[in-house]
């Protein structure tokens, strides 16, 4: 058993692809039409290449309720590891990304949280 695929629900797949590639810097791996939606995955250019993140359409009303509640409670849906959190914080801020705090130390990591504009809060963490 291996972890090769993870997913995150997004309110608009086209908007998400633009944000996750052009702003965050991930690369599109698959974009396969499936009816009115698509199988859409991205990977990190820093690897590992075989680990994909699926940008799943959040259509189910239960999913929308869950996502909105998590967001309002300031709870990140997932977290991405970075090497230099301050550098990524400044880079993303220059792209207009909204953060809910500045980078802060939290035990063995430094963390910061931002909105992915697709209904999720995402945490960045840098192991110290």
């Amino acid at each position: 058993m291996r972890i090769r695929l993870s997913s995150i629900m997004v309110d608009d797949q086209d908007k998400a692809l633009k944000f996750y590639t052009e702003v965050l810097g991930f690369q599109k791996k698959h974009e396969i039409p499936m009816g009115q939606y698509k199988w859409l995955t991205v990977i990190s250019p820093e690897g590992p290449e075989e680990v994909e993140l699926s940008l799943e359409p959040n259509v189910n009303p239960a999913g929308k309720t869950f996502q909105a509640a998590m967001f309002s409670q300031n709870i990140p849906m997932t977290a991405f590891e970075v090497t230099d959190i301050q550098e990524d914080y400044m880079r993303l801020k220059s792209h207009g990304v909204v953060f809910t705090s500045e980078p802060v130390e939290a035990g063995p990591v430094k963390i910061v949280v931002f909105s992915d504009t697709c209904g999720n809060l995402i945490q960045l963490y840098q192991p110290l």
């Binding site: 291996r2 090769r4 695929l5 997913s7 309110d11 608009d12 908007k15 944000f19 791996k29 698959h30 396969i32 499936m34 009816g35 009115q36 939606y37 199988w39 859409l40 590992p48 290449e49 075989e50 994909e52 699926s54 799943e56 359409p57 259509v59 189910n60 009303p61 999913g63 929308k64 909105a68 967001f71 309002s72 300031n74 801020k93 207009g96 990304v97 909204v98 953060f99 809910t100 705090s101 500045e102 909105s115 504009t117 697709c118 209904g119």
Partner: protein, 150 residues
Amino acid sequence: MLLGQDTFRRLCQARELLAEVREQPLSIRDVARRTGISPFHFIRQFEALFGVTPHQFRIQSRLDQAKLLLAKGHHSVTEVCMEVGMSSLGSFSDLFWRRVGTTPSAYQRSARVMVQVPGILPPKLFPGCLSLMGMLPRAAFRNFREARPL
């Protein structure tokens, strides 16, 4: 942009207000006033946080509610139009067609299923990409198959 906790909370409350269906919908300016943010900053911060303007969010929210009601099949298109707070059937149908790519009645027909199971949503409302893996071409999995164990 760095949002303070108070502003973040206010913008989340504004999103809930915009999703509410009212007989007399609040104007964007009203929502901004209720959340205590100037209309200019409200629209700018809302869009930066949620990726859509307050107006776009309200339209999308109405369409989502309409799609749910249509898919459940218990309401006519006219009833759905009223339920989501729109008074003109023509405007509703036109908006639906422009945003969803089909008419409300065609959407309702396409979402209709032969067997309705109480408590279970029509399949149209849960595309569940992960559960539809069986429809993907083999190439979509080449990445996984060729990956060497770490």
